[in-house]
Amino acid sequence: MDRLIITPPRRTPLPPFRDMWRAREVFWRFGMRDILLRYRQTVIGVAWVILQPLVAAGVFAIIFGQVAKLPSGGLPYFVFSFAGLLGWNLFNGVIARASTSLVANQSLVAKIFFPRLLIPASSVLSVLLDFAVALVLMVVLLFVYHINPGWAILLLPFWILFAILLGLGVGIAAAALMVKYRDVGYVLPWLLQILFYVTPVAYSVDAVPPQLAWVFEANPLTWLMEGFRWSLLGQAPPPLWQLAGLVVVSFAVLAGGLLVFQKLERGFADVI
């Protein structure tokens, strides 16, 4: 039997990967709980997951496609914006659920010991389920509109991974900050709203005036969106530097999030 030795934590301890693996059941149970709860008590349940991106894509198709008449790379605007929203909702969903998760489970955090990182991490599961439902819809749309993305669709798991890494990095940092500063919960959605408009989700990078293009090119989420549209719609692949950049930035954001979380983690039970 191994003896466990508890000492005062260092300033920024490494995440307890071994403990997390041992407590993986908590990860699944939390994820399952979120999923069950969300579908059990809502009247329209799964329909909501389908309806929400459909209506949003429809609205964008009308505003950007019909009213503003923005280019969509020769594709129907509806499918075009739906593909973008698919990727965005994954990123946004992870942030939204992960960031509020610690405060929502504060009674647990204050009373039971388990690797706290599992709480925000487990919110990925329910977001992934939403994504899966929307993805099925996407496939249906591809058939309806006779779009063949080609072999690039095989790269889809990578875009999913990077969207999650980015979202989780921001999400766990925000979750940790929210324990102490509750107004993070008000500021964050507002920031995400702005980010949504400066990222080519519902419009194409081609619609951006050339003198401003560099601003958009510098946004890692642009790279991610281009990746999603490459894999789902068969549009032009993003340049190689963006792909490399996406890998680096995703892991950097996650590492940054972990750093913030670990730095604040030891005070959770005392502050919450």
Binding site: M1, R3, L4, I5, I6, T7, P8, P9, A23, E25, V26, W28, R29, F30, M32, R33, L36, L37, R40, Q41, S107, L108, A110, K111, I112, F113, F114, L177, K180, Y181, R182, D183, V184, V187, R266, A269, D270
Partner: protein, 404 residues
Amino acid sequence: MTARDSAISVQGLSKTYRIARGAAHVDRITDAALNRLRHPFRRTQYDVFEAVRDLSFEVPWGEALGIVGRNGAGKSTLLKLLTRVSAPTAGVIELGGRVGSLLEVGTGFHPDLTGRENIYLNGALLGMSRTEIKRRFDEIVDFSGVEKFLDTQVKRYSSGMYVRLAFSVAAHLETEILAIDEVLAVGDAEFQAKSLAKMRDVARDGRTVLYVSHQMQTVTTLCTSAIYLDKGELLYHGSVEGALETYRNSFEKFQARQSVASNRPGTGEVRFASVRVTQPQQTPADEKVIELELPPVTGLIGDYFVSCHINDANGIVIAQCDSRALGVWFSPGRAHQARLSIRNLWLKPGTYTVDAYVCQAGILDAWEGAESFEVLPSYPYPELTSEEALLSGVILTDFTYERG
């Protein structure tokens, strides 16, 4: 005995909390950022509060250790440190195995999940693996006695069922060390007895139980040894009787210390000059009269109010008499001889203590154990009956029965 053989070994354990001094507590990130901008070079000043100070003790295997002490002695903090919920500031804890905690009942239960789902969720949270939960699932359900409602959402459970299920999950933890915080006092008498027996079995299996409680009675029945904490310090480690005796003796010392105003917490702008129970010995149905003396003070703006608590011997607050509730406020400019009369509170025979507080926006004076009085063993009822007729309940009441 070497540290190797013990279940728990604690060396020089301390936990301090830092409380930001000066400005109100900052809980908005915008405020935090603004403060940083306004005073870029000022470091926040902290008051240090030592919840647990330099504890060292060892607990051998198979022992049920009771942790006793007054409110705020650091019992719960110690348990939080041992269960890793909160991190120590200094010192080393060595644990001989996994620690399972049976803290407040129902922590980790979700009202919208069914009993079955909650067993799995709660089991996982308490550190059980999936196979472990599966293996003990039937046992858990059996012990709780809610098998018929396994697939019902627990929000539809009666509070008794809820508590029984929660306790059952935790009681079937297979951890080598089990920490319990004040939870055995749940459910009906039968379930309580069953829980106590279960906990004793745990200790008999050679595992180790840590038990924090106000209720001396359960400590005596469950524990094989005890430690007594006072203001975060370990004053006694040994037999249960010894710890309880220290607890009782310490009250007198505590009372003596509190009678010096400067030893008491509170801002001190107004302090009681005296708190006196007019009848130090009384019968259960007597009117309880407490006289409070408050000197005039200058420099305090606005009226203040007072509050008195009556506590029983186990430290449970039986009654709170807050002058706010009656709209009675005191002006600081003059002296007051206040008189609190409590009617229709029938106390059971025993020793009671009075805590007295002076408050405004915050606490100006907190005098715990300001007075004590004794209720003599006489019963205010017409018939002399067997003990059983009066055994249950915290207080006595003025009741009647009418045969229809």
